[in-house]
Symmetry: C2
Subunit: 140 residues, 2 copies
């Protein structure tokens, strides 16, 4: 199995609301308005929105509701950009789980929780490199 992830699908209770949230963040999709799955090209991978019940069935898992042990992150190039993205997410309808602050690992981050309950850490990690195309590299 190659060391890569192709797609992350976020199960949603309200697809229109979820799509509207990510579009309010400036994300664009070629999905038609009536499509029941929405794909976003996100760098070299894809982020999808799909009904949570359908996703659970398709994934061969039971849905207990709530959070299930996966957190997403969006890394940016400065602490100020962390605060700007958190503000943008809040305006778009997210809940701020943790405001931007210095972290124990020497960076700066905060957390927003999207309208479907999926948490995103927004982080500036001075030890990692963000390339011009947005890809992220661990310190070598």
């Amino acid at each position: 199995m190659e060391q890569r992830m192709s797609l992350v699908t976020l199960g949603v209770a309200d697809l229109a609301r979820a799509r509207g949230f990510y579009e309010a963040l400036g994300w664009t999709t070629h999905a038609a308005p009536a499509d029941d799955v929405v794909f976003f090209q996100a760098g070299g991978m894809i982020v999808a929105l799909w009904g949570r019940a359908q996703l659970a069935e398709d994934s061969a898992v039971e849905d207990d509701g709530g959070w299930g042990g996966i957190t997403l992150a969006h890394n940016v190039r400065s602490p100020a950009e962390v605060d700007a993205v958190l503000e943008e997410a809040e305006r778009a309808g997210a809940t701020i789980g943790r405001p931007g602050a210095e972290t124990f690992w020497g960076g700066y981050s905060g957390v927003f929780v999207d309208p479907e309950g999926h948490p995103w850490e927004v982080a500036h990690n001075p030890h990692w490199t963000i390339e011009a195309d947005g890809s992220v590299r661990l310190a070598s």
Copy 2:
């Protein structure tokens, strides 16, 4: 907020078991044996393993246990490769949630569930392009 995801962190109950599983799939990390977080460079993004309780606290969410509405996927270049990756994952300790089979959307996929309960779809989608570097592109 740029249209990209930098990091996906998988919360785990047993870090050594989880790390061993992904290493058995051939993934490599520069983490030290005693590190309490394990980072894998996965194409232009990063996949991390971290204690689930710590991740929940850091993510400002309650952990209800079980699955929480996020499914990962690993896309490959042929149906035969889907079956090969599922077999490899099962040998490494995964549970097969759904064996490889043709899908309603015209591709071929199956699901394995890692030892921590995180489902991965392994898929061949003939409508998408996998680049030489492993990145995935939606049909334009």
